[in-house]
């Protein structure tokens, strides 16, 4: 005779402690597509649920701060490219402004405007990549193709401006490497029209997409208090509802002249972080258009900073004074007075800070780099536990970090 037994969920729930298996330790990374670089997460899982997350970083540590102490200020510019390597122009500008602040240099208007254009283009480029791979992490492949298409156009513009697509090294202490190429601003204008169309396309693909909403809405919310306690900056802080943007609150390089809005989120979940970045691209285009319209003429480097910026090549070749100046600058580096400075710039990923201590001369005594990605990752142990393993891809994508800047 057959005996039957009804399965009751209540019984199982009552025995949950007895039925519970042991926790599993899972190693995610350092080579995992969702970790966007060489980040390793040491996870403790209860079934599908993360109960502990310990990020292990340092796989890309190059000792940039030590290197900086052993070379002249201009020699370090190429190293700043490799911090946030998705927005090298913005790093170049932040570093140059920090050193100039220490030297007490005021840049001519044209130089400032070109730098603003560089920063905003870098922001668009970084956000395009950030949004593309974020969408890919949550299962939408097409968005990545669309945003990368625009990013390629942007890199062609960078190449024309700086001579390199990725490692731009465009700024020098006291100026830039070169002036704008002929007709470049018109080509930027054309790009602006195109990128807005792409962003609208992405908007239509993602913002009301059921799968994307399911994977991001309400996932890993960061409250205002938590964001401030962990020192988050940039889009991640603004998504949590803190309207703090260094471009508005501590304007540098002439940002106060341009009219733009700061998008702010309400819940601070993964979806808010996506929305803030989408809007920031539109605002960057708005700033770019104003820069193009009001690009001032005149000098593009600090002409009177004879101990900091190289003289024009033609004069170096024909005049004695300039030849000596050139020789001294190349051998001994730009002469920066003794003192200390901390300067933060609003970079695509957050505030990139440089704390520079100088004892005078051409080499910094100490150069500290405060990378926003380092801070964004330090919040992971607080927000990841309680989420499912699959949510980690959304969380990492939404924080938009880059390991080059985190490990330095």
């Amino acid at each position: 005779m057959k005996t039957t037994k009804e399965i009751s969920l209540g019984d199982i729930a009552a025995r949950s402690e007895e039925l519970r298996g042991e926790n599993m330790t899972l190693n995610m990374g350092p080579s995992h597509p969702a970790t966007h670089g060489v980040l390793r997460l040491s996870l403790e899982l209860d079934g599908d649920k993360v109960i502990k997350c310990d990020p292990v970083i340092g796989y890309l540590h190059r000792g940039d701060e030590k290197i900086a102490e052993n070379m002249t200020y201009n020699q370090f510019v190429p190293y700043t490219d490799r911090l946030d390597y998705l927005a090298p122009l913005a790093n170049n500008v932040a570093y140059a402004i920090a050193v100039e602040k220490l030297a007490g240099l005021k840049m001519p208007e044209r130089c400032e405007a070109i730098r603003v254009a560089c920063c905003e283009m870098a922001r668009i480029s970084s956000h395009l990549l950030g949004l593309g791979v974020y969408a890919m992490d949550t299962g939408a492949w097409t968005v990545f193709m669309y945003t990368f298409n625009e990013r390629e156009k942007l890199y062609t513009l960078f190449e024309e401006l700086t001579g390199a697509r990725f490692t731009t090294s465009y700024t020098r202490i006291g100026g830039l490497t070169r002036d704008l190429p002929e007709g470049w601003l018109q080509r930027v204008e054309t790009f602006c029209d195109g990128v807005l169309k792409t962003i609208d396309e992405v908007d239509r693909l993602l913002t009301r997409n059921g799968i994307f909403l399911e994977r991001t809405e309400g996932v890993a919310p960061i409250s205002k208090e938590l964001a401030l306690a962990y020192g988050l900056t940039g889009p991640n802080l603004r998504a949590s509802g803190v309207a703090f943007d260094l471009r508005k609150d501590k304007p540098y390089s002439g940002y106060e002249k341009y009219d733009f809005d700061i998008p702010v989120g309400t819940k601070g979940d993964c979806f808010d972080r996506y929305l803030v970045r989408m809007e920031e691209v539109r605002q960057s285009v708005r700033i770019l258009r104003q820069v193009i319209k009001t690009m001032p003429g005149g000098a593009w480097y600090a002409e009177d900073a004879k101990k900091i910026f190289l003289p024009p090549k033609a004069k170096t070749m024909t005049k004695m004074e300039e030849l000596i100046q050139n020789f001294m600058l190349v051998t001994e580096g730009p002469q920066i007075p003794a003192g200390e400075v901390y300067f933060e710039a609003e970079n695509p990923k957050g505030s990139l800070g440089f704390y520079i201590v100088s004892n005078g001369g051409g080499v910094p005594y100490r150069l500290r780099i405060h990378g926003p990605s380092f801070v964004s990752l330090s919040i992971l142990p607080a927000i990841v536990p309680g989420n499912f393993l699959t949510d980690i891809a959304s969380i990492l994508g939404s924080l938009d970090f880059v390991m080059g800047e985190c490990d330095r």
Partner: protein
């Protein structure tokens, strides 16, 4: 910010007349109290940066530099704290974001943070014996055992100092000869006799 209120509450705090922001040299024993006071009473709610420092000609040579930001008044403040016996109190209970910065300062300078919840290295591997950002640590590095002992047992591999010849680095001290700029280490130069 209210400089007077701070110096009255903590009389050992010195105002250092910073060029770019208000700067204080604080007694390291009071560091955590001052950071808490600045957060609760004066609105410095965001830890902008915390880093270690090696002032090679001061005693004590190690110290910590903290930058705090008031997101409402848009104001920065800088705190210098010298270490006592290579240690300072942790501020990670006040600003949880300081946790990783303090781990980095320990890793790079060997500064111990009293009361830190997780005092591990962060950028270098756990068994690494040195603190590379100290001024007496050479730029090229020092030979150390390979982190994976099982690999090293088979291959005999070690972590070697970086090659410096022909590099972009400013050479400090030493005798330079010849008209052309050249690297300090000439052991690679085939024109010169090997010593």
């Amino acid at each position: 910010m209210d400089v007077l209120a701070l110096t009255q509450k903590f009389p050992q705090t010195q105002n250092c007349a910073g060029q770019d922001m208000t700067t204080f040299a604080v007694n390291s024993a009071e560091l955590a109290d001052i950071v808490k006071y600045l957060r609760d009473e004066q609105g410095f709610d965001l830890l902008a940066d915390l880093c270690g420092m090696d002032w090679k000609d001061r005693t004590p040579n190690l110290g910590v530099v903290i930058h705090l930001l008031n997101t409402k008044n848009r104001e920065y403040v800088r705190l210098h704290a010298a270490c006592v016996d290579d240690s300072v109190p942790t501020v990670s209970a006040i600003h949880p974001g300081a946790n990783w910065h303090e781990r980095e300062a320990y890793d790079m300078f060997g500064i111990k943070f009293i009361g830190h919840p997780d005092p591990r290295r962060i950028l270098m591997w756990d068994a690494y014996p040195y603190h590379p950002l100290r001024k007496d640590f050479p730029l090229a590095g020092i030979e150390v055992p390979f982190p994976a002992a099982d690999v090293a047992a088979v291959t005999g591999q070690t972590v070697e100092p970086a090659p410096m010849m022909g590099g972009p680095f400013v050479s400090s001290g030493g005798h330079m000869s010849g008209a052309e700029p050249q690297a300090l280490d000439q052991s690679w130069n085939e024109e010169k006799p090997k010593s």
